[in-house]
Amino acid sequence: MEETSSPMIRVENLTRRFPGVTAVDGADFHVEKGWILGFLGPNGAGKTTTLRILSGYMPATSGTVSVAGFDVHRRSLEVRRRIGYLPENAPLYGEMRVEEYLRYRAKLKGLGRREARRNLDRVLERVRITDHRRRIINQLSKGYRQRVGLADALIHDPPVLLLDEPTSGLDPNQIREMRSALTELAPRKTLVISTHILPEVEAVCDHVVVIHQGRIVMQGDLTSLKTGFDASAPVVVEARGGAVDEMRSALSALPGVRAVDLKGPPDAPVFEFETDAGGDIREAVFRLFADRGWTLVGLTSRAPTLEEMFWKATAGADVEASARGGRGN
């Protein structure tokens, strides 16, 4: 058996070319079990293409992809049994009723009648459309159709979910409901959510992979990005009650402090500086202010927001891509 214990999804040097454009170019990333991965990128970056390759809908031009231990190219059917895929805009058969559609999908995925009925009830509860189970899909609003799509992805209880822009076209209430439904699913399931909406990644995901023009430009663990004091990030000191120049030179004199930037008006100065690797400078700053009788109004580390990192990563990639411009496809 080809089953391995981790990672759940492994993508190695994935490339997908179309006539005239390289949609995915040497992508490398992996997803461990239980992660909620935000697959982030501007429109046209290659997110949908990558998801289609992961789900076995489209073959790659080169590279290897394995999901739940099975190679997507060689054991496509096994992969498809273990994933729930929700394509963008949740395409459904409009003429069927909700439960009719879900029962049909359950049969396609190999569920027996008893199991299908049981799963159907649970899945309808989970996405909260039990009251609409007899409705014809054409008559549902976009939000409900999206939920039916999610129900379809969940019906066979797969370990991996691939969701392409699951909140696109939904109103704020529906977005909130969809997001909470998704967060409830982890850590039992591994989720990959593709989106171009930064706040969505911040709200729902614990890991992120950023793709831009077909290349992975950033991957990381969001928990470290978002919370707490990051010792490697710039330190921000808000001060009062002292001469700005004095404060500045005193701060510069602290061991490990590099160039000190001054922002803000003279009576409410904000100093920003980077420190050498390691070490928490906060105590030293506090003591300094205490000794000199200055008022320390704020002391934080300016950990970069996801947005800043995103712009940095994609801007850098833009530059890189244009430099390599003439290489052809």
Binding site: F18, P19, K33, R52, S55, G56, Y57, M58, P59, L77, E78, R80, R81, R82, I83, Y85, P87, N89, P91, L92, Y93, G94, E95, M96, Y104, R105, K107, L108, K109, G110, L111, G112, E115, R118, N119, R122, V123, R126, G149, D152, L154, H156, D157, P158, P159, V160, R188, K189
Partner: protein, 284 residues
């Protein structure tokens, strides 16, 4: 939390289970059973979709209208005093009509099969379900064939009436049954062409026209054969001369060569359809 505990009853969505459906199910149902369950679901869904569509009823309306009129005509001609009681030309006339009715009916039946899925992008969830391309194609084919049979079945009544009211004695039943058998296999062939055409385009109208043209050309081969007097032309086109083949059925001759031919051509176009699906995924 019941980590890892998955009894066959509770397994599916119980807390703590990380998704054991694939494994649990594989141990309970054989692959053959699963294959039929999935394919059966596909065919069932496709058939239901036919009868929920307006197109089906439009097809049925016009088809029954035309065949009804033809039947009336034939019946009236045969009822005139002095008409020689020959069953062959009578049934031939009926079959002739049905033969050409296929040109319009088959494209109408098959036009939506793949084109609609391509247009509304429902092919994506279909192809990412654990079913093979072959299952998808064969199920659409079976559904189309099923609808075709349901469509044709009531006209059998006309044939029965013609036969049972013939005087002074009812003629041989052979040609009647053979005729419909011929229609069935010929239908299978043309339907498979239609399915192929449908898979080639997102646009149902284009699929219709393509299928219509293809069937028309095939049917008119016998005309071409007779109009053009180049010697090799006649020989060359002989295997494509449907009318003769089909009229064998009309005469009551069930020639298994013809059946094999029709089935083989159906298989060919179904195979080509699977191929087109594959090409789409590569190019998309």
């Amino acid at each position: 939390m019941r980590e890892g505990e998955t009894s066959p009853e509770e397994g599916a969505l119980a807390p703590g289970s990380a998704g054991s459906v694939a494994e649990a199910d594989a141990s309970r149902s054989s692959p053959v059973r699963l294959w039929f369950r999935a394919t059966g679901a596909l065919v069932g869904r496709e058939l239901a979709a036919y009868f929920k569509s307006t197109m089906a009823y439009i097809i049925m309306f016009f088809f029954y209208l035309v065949t009804g009129l033809v039947f009336l005509n034939v019946f009236e001609i045969l009822s005139r005093p002095g008409t020689p009681p020959t069953e062959f030309p009578m049934l031939n006339w009926f079959m002739f009509t049905l033969f050409f009715a296929l040109t319009v009916i088959v494209p109408a039946i098959t036009m939506r099969l793949f084109s609609d899925e391509l247009k509304t992008r429902t092919l994506e969830p279909l192809c990412t379900a654990p079913v093979t391309d072959f299952q998808i194609v064969i199920s659409k084919y079976l559904a189309a064939l099923g609808f075709y049979v349901v469509l044709l079945a009531p006209t059998f009544l006309y044939a029965v009436i013609l036969y049972s009211t013939a005087k002074p004695h009812p003629p041989d039943r052979g040609p009647m049954v053979a005729g419909y058998l011929g229609l069935f296999f010929l239908g299978s062939y043309f339907l498979s062409i239609g399915i192929f055409a449908s898979a080639c385009t997102k646009n149902q109208i284009v699929a219709f026209i393509g299928t219509f043209m293809a069937i028309l050309v095939l049917q008119l081969v016998y005309v071409f054969r007779r109009l053009i007097s180049l010697p090799w032309w006649k020989e060359f086109l002989e295997p494509f001369d449907f009318f003769e083949n089909f009229m064998d059925f009309g005469r009551g001759v069930v020639d298994t060569r013809h059946i094999v031919y029709y089935l083989a051509m159906s298989a060919l176009f179904l195979f080509l359809t699977v191929g087109v699906l594959g090409v789409r995924k590569w190019r998309l």
